[in-house]
Symmetry: C2
Subunit: 302 residues, 2 copies
DNA sequence: CGCCGTGTTGCAATATGAGCAACACCACCG
DNA sequence: CGGTGGTGTTGCTCATATTGCAACACGGCG
């Protein structure tokens, strides 16, 4: 759009840190870009960039401006989405930041189900740990985030909170697979495929370990649930995952809830940036996920 | 600002309903304006105006666009205000919509106190009944509203709620002035200067009258508290006002709380448009009023 | 010092936008 | 029925703003 052109330029320069680089990306010349920014600064009455020999860096006012620009652009997208919705066809783009736990089953399934009804809506899925997922939402990079125990942040507004037990993941023929639920200390009798420290589940395990003060035999540690899953399929090890992240396909893995006395339930949170309204597409996607999670796991929701 | 020019044009045309009228206001020609709007509609991919023989009217998409434009303009003001605040000087403009009850003492006093600290902040005060005050906030015409018992509206977000007793207003030498509090039925023994039906207080009185099922001798009715005050100063009549609207100057009027058994407390609400953030200036003004009301009447606040 | 990186400026080419006048349409009214 | 005054729109012309090119100024670095 015409009236957002300058804003896009500023955003680009701010993120690339160089007028010449941005000029190329925007297919403009450096001189045109320089003048756009100068004009904007004149209109605003304040410089928003510091000119360094290494390039351009935003100053304090510039940070505010950038935040404003991001909001404007995202608002405009929402407007387009709302307008498209008027004519019956849902159109738009939804960016979700999700914890890795959902990358396997839940999110792809939800997106497929949504797109079956609204094929003109496209999706971006950012897989991030809980800290970066919340940060992505705050930086307007994602519309919503679905994460486990997000760090408390004032700008993150939970839309749905569900409490889920942590599960122990093991092969079908594992001795512990016989019972419906397992005790944490029994799991620790076996070698463990441990989620990496960037994963939220790790923190839960860590505090449970501290409480239980039991030794743990970690044979594999990985930031990737995919790795942990594959490995758990091979050796007689135990790994961990929340209920909603359990693979549904016909693998030879089974999940057993860990007794709630040993492990408090994890918090599964779907949230957005506080004080912002979502595009129609995003909003309806949130509704769908909420409904779907509620109907599957709703008995323990809060 | 340059990039908001088109948006301002659209807003103006939407509110005037005529390209030619707007062209004059904006010191443009009708043709230029027409093309601006056509270009915008082309970029957007949808018409936003219905062309009638009587002029231009927004269609459904246009209503969304207008809402968006208002938000953009108001956001930009906030940005300027935040930037000005960076350099230490607070600058900006605050528009408040207030019930008439506060037009006399509270609001002018608060503004004066604020401007003593921040002389570069200017104010607009819209005096509106509760319905229109809330509407003004929703239409981005006012940043905040201070009203009595606002109608429930989802887009109006209360920031502060204080419960205040209704007072009977009378001259110093009135027989009822001897006691600290008065009973409602005693007030009705005297002629009444009655607030008009557009005033929120009237509704309170009305329901109390229905409960008490007592006859009332209304000798003057007015939409203006100023009229009611002046008249109450002359004849031995009773009028009504909430505590925060009682004139503090050295008139010969006194206020006596009505016994709470006869009259439930009124709600005094300071609120803003839900989901929007205020400019620094407005936000600090809200803080000041909150503090001031709390310290004066805070014992009964909720 | 010479080189390469940065952003900036002068000037000419160009695209964008504005104004004017004429047009098409509709409502109203004699 | 046809005029009259209102609406928005369009073709054309011209001013203005925006762009690109090339040259410049400054700072870091070898």
């Amino acid at each position: 759009m015409k009236h957002l052109k300058t804003l896009r330029c500023i955003e680009d320069v701010a993120s690339s840190g160089s007028i010449r680089k941005s000029a190329e990306q925007l297919s403009l010349t450096a001189s045109a870009l320089t003048r756009k920014i100068q004009d904007f600064e004149t209109e605003l009455g304040t410089p928003i960039f510091e000119r360094m020999p290494q390039g351009m860096r935003l100053n304090a006012a510039g940070e505010l401006v950038l935040r404003h620009i991001r909001a404007q652009l995202s608002d405009f997208e929402r407007l387009r989405s709302q307008i498209a919705d008027l004519s019956g066809v849902r159109r738009g783009h939804v960016t979700v930041a999700v914890s890795q736990a959902f990358a396997h089953g839940l999110i792809p399934k939800e997106i497929a189900s949504y797109r079956a009804r609204h094929p003109l809506v496209s999706f971006s899925v950012l897989v991030r740990d809980h800290v970066h997922a919340v940060r992505a939402v705050a930086a307007f990079e994602a519309d919503v985030a679905l994460v486990i125990t997000p760090p408390p942040a004032p700008e993150f507004e939970p839309l749905l909170v569900i409490h889920q037990p942590l599960c122990a993941l093991m092969s079908k023929d594992h001795p512990l697979a016989k019972a419906e639920t397992v005790r944490f200390r029994d799991c620790l009798q076996y070698p463990i495929a441990m989620p990496g420290p960037s994963l939220a589940i790790r923190h839960h395990l860590q505090s449970a370990l501290v409480r239980a003060s039991l030794p743990v035999n970690t044979v594999v540690e990985s930031d990737s649930f995919e790795v942990l899953r594959s490995y758990t399929g091979g050796e007689q090890v135990i790994s961990f995952q929340i209920r909603a992240g359990i693979p549904q396909d016909n693998s030879n893995l089974v999940a057993r809830e860990i007794d709630h006395r040993d492990m408090p339930p994890t918090q599964l949170v779907l949230g957005q940036l506080r004080g912002r309204s979502l595009s129609v597409a995003a909003s309806k996607f949130v509704d769908q996920i909420s409904g779907s999670l509620h109907s599957q796991y709703g008995v323990r929701s809060a």
